[in-house]
Symmetry: D2
Subunit: 257 residues, 4 copies
């Protein structure tokens, strides 16, 4: 097509390629989700349906962008990890961030009714995104540990807070009651006052969701019409500890550069 | 909340604040929309319903982010203009790009059924985004002119191409026929062979969509129950020339820094 | 020449081109000059010889890089201004910063003995550098005004401080005496206690140095051996106000984009 | 000191901190050194005095900035390596680049007469600089290998070229003669036609200069006036292979993050 005299304006676009050789984390965060949750009367402290929708949206990202090696999500956020070797979109930050955010958001809206069929979508959910480079596996794992520790801290706090509130305390008093308490105090409060053993709360809430691809046997129809079994890479959602070494030792393909 | 030893990973986030004093353009582009349009059997060369959905998605962005001064859209793309003075999200590129893309995408999916009620959404539409700084009004206007010239070039070409194809030519032959033709040839072809006066094609297709806020009189109910009229800023979609001076002279509030 | 398998490491170099259409300021700052001045027993509050060497170093930069439109210096710093249209070194920040710093430093060392013939150079003077973009003339002028106001504030303070110290006060007491004083107090102190009329202090100290190119008549030898006069661009060092409009109106070529 | 209304211009300075956790290479390159060498009639293909001055300038950088772990130089360039853990100047690229360039240039000028006492400095030598991040030791070593391979390729070529030219061939013919030749051809040419065994050319020319700190015994005067021996870190200039593993195994302190 013909080019116009205005085309020079493209020279104002600045290069935002991420440093080669680094792990890339793309993190997606809900915008104003405290209000969004209230508006849609989501369950407190955790709404399993909404979390499952987050997981489904993250799965869509991993299917659309096979370079995404692993994803970790909790609450209204999800982190997507690309390996040092990825050349996806020339590693341009804005391309990567925007497409992952767009895919995530579109899926969240598209599948809302499937996960929360009795809750009409009343406003437009939005997610922001950012890209961060981590130069080696140790610091990437520290990043993921940071998010999973955050999951634990928030979830324990929220478990106590909503136990108190559901028990009749007003929200300000509940915050006051929990101010400065240690984890051990909160565990004790849950157990002695509400009979809740924190470790029996579903792992999904305590550990967040980790999405990876794993080899699995899949039933396939053969050309002759009979059924057989074939090994394939399939997406799996795990709710496990990713801070310790065990997870990483069990999935060595995750850490290949 | 307590902080973990892993929190140091935040220091790897790099500052991406856009230069103060510059106009900011955030452009959103459909990913793989050629295929997306075919899959959904959208009308060629232009599908008014799909374009109206694009406009509605852009309106949602302008309502969610009042700092957006103007938007210009055509085909599967939309550009959003923020003034030099904006401090929205500290002018951080990734925040701005991701939130605009997220809002746009979410609205596109949410309102799809309203604009294309007989066409089920078969796949997930995605948009990428980027941020570009323009240091003065002249170059910002050149940017917008670049996009509107592009609208014209593409639309004229597509009008001819689909006239030929609907007239029975195969797509490769139609491309061949148009190769190297000037605008005047294409206008002549449309008129003499298909009786189409290019200038009578709807302005929406020839000029794209320009969204601005304008003062308008709005009917309001007064406290005493009677009806009155009040002036308010309202969003308007225009399909007009934005290359010449007239548009800018008529809307002086658009160019305030 | 043959390329080696290691050449891929060049892909780690990141693009640092400065935004087109903006004024570029390259500022050079002495590193640890308080100590450097003491070590070389430079005169206080201002050493005319050292300032002249700074000016000579800045002239060398303007001669080596004709795209530098204007330079402003004071104390141990110098700012070099390039116009929006410059394409010097593709506007790459590190190229521009490093070459200007290198040229400045080299000249400072090379010509030291010429300006301070009785003071051997005892240590290695160093300058850091940075590049800043300013999107329009108004903010560029504000930048230069910022530096010239700084010149004034520092010079007035130092004039008082060294008057007190030379008058026998120790340095801590002199700082204490000046703490929180307004300009008017300092002017009064200089005049009433030391008989110094601040406005009679040389303009070089009060206004800093501004280097520009001006048309001037130069004597030239003609081919026939006789002498004539020709107009040429020549560098000039001025010690004038550059905050007000007069300077800019008198030198309209400085502000061309 | 008082702040002026113009101070807002500082907000236009953009953050250029280099990614934490990466090795930083600061490379200094001579500007127009082909001409500079001709102008000063430096010896061809290598001038030992000029190379020693380069080494001395690099030593000055390592003394001024103890965070510099290693330096490698050849011809008119020098690379300085900082470890991933360095926090020097907050890892700001322009600070690091400009100060290293300034220190290098200043020393080059300051000590010129010491290394080339019979050659007056006729023009101002300048060096440009850049900063590059390398996320791990493997790629850092590839960077250094790239430079040392380059040293070898250039030196072998230049050895042949200047042998031919000193043997009476004009420069264009010499370039033509060498076009497309392999290393083996060049070694053969040197040996059979000029009796030069390439491997007997001084290692300084073939391997470049590597500066590191090593523990060494230094004679020190004790308080009682007698002499003793103490271990200290001292700078050393080596002309050795740094591509293979041996060098790195012998100096394990170089690779600590």
């Amino acid at each position: 097509m013909a080019k116009s005299a205005y085309e020079y304006v493209r020279t104002f676009e600045q290069d935002d390629r991420l440093l080669p050789g680094c792990w890339i984390v793309l993190r997606v965060d809900g915008k104003g989700f405290t209000r969004f949750c209230e508006e849609h009367k989501l369950e407190k402290p955790n709404d399993g349906r909404a979390l499952a929708l987050m997981d489904a949206s993250a799965e869509a990202v991993m299917l659309a962008f096979p370079d995404v090696r692993l994803a970790f999500g909790e609450s209204d956020e999800y982190s997507f990890v690309l390996p040092p070797s990825t050349k996806l979109y020339g590693r341009r930050a804005s391309k990567l961030v925007s497409l992952v955010v767009s895919c995530f958001t579109a899926t969240y809206v598209r599948r809302w009714a499937e996960f929360l069929p009795e809750t009409p979508l009343l406003s437009t959910p939005m997610f922001d995104g950012r890209a961060v480079c981590y130069p080696n596996l140790a610091v990437l794992r520290d990043y993921l540990s940071w998010r999973q520790v955050d999951t634990h801290i928030n979830n324990l706090y929220n478990a106590c807070f909503w136990a108190l509130v559901k028990g009749g305390m007003d929200q300000a008093a509940a915050h006051e009651r929990l101010k400065g308490t240690l984890s051990s105090h909160k565990n004790e409060l849950l157990f002695s006052e509400y009979g809740i053993n924190y470790n029996e709360i579903p792992a999904r809430f305590r550990k967040g969701s980790t999405l990876i691809r794993q080899r699995a046997e899949v039933r396939v129809k053969k050309p002759d019409g009979s059924w057989g079994v074939r090994e394939k890479w399939v997406l799996q959602v795990l709710h496990v500890d990713i801070i310790g070494n065990q997870f990483w030792e069990e999935h060595p393909h995750l850490v290949e550069p």
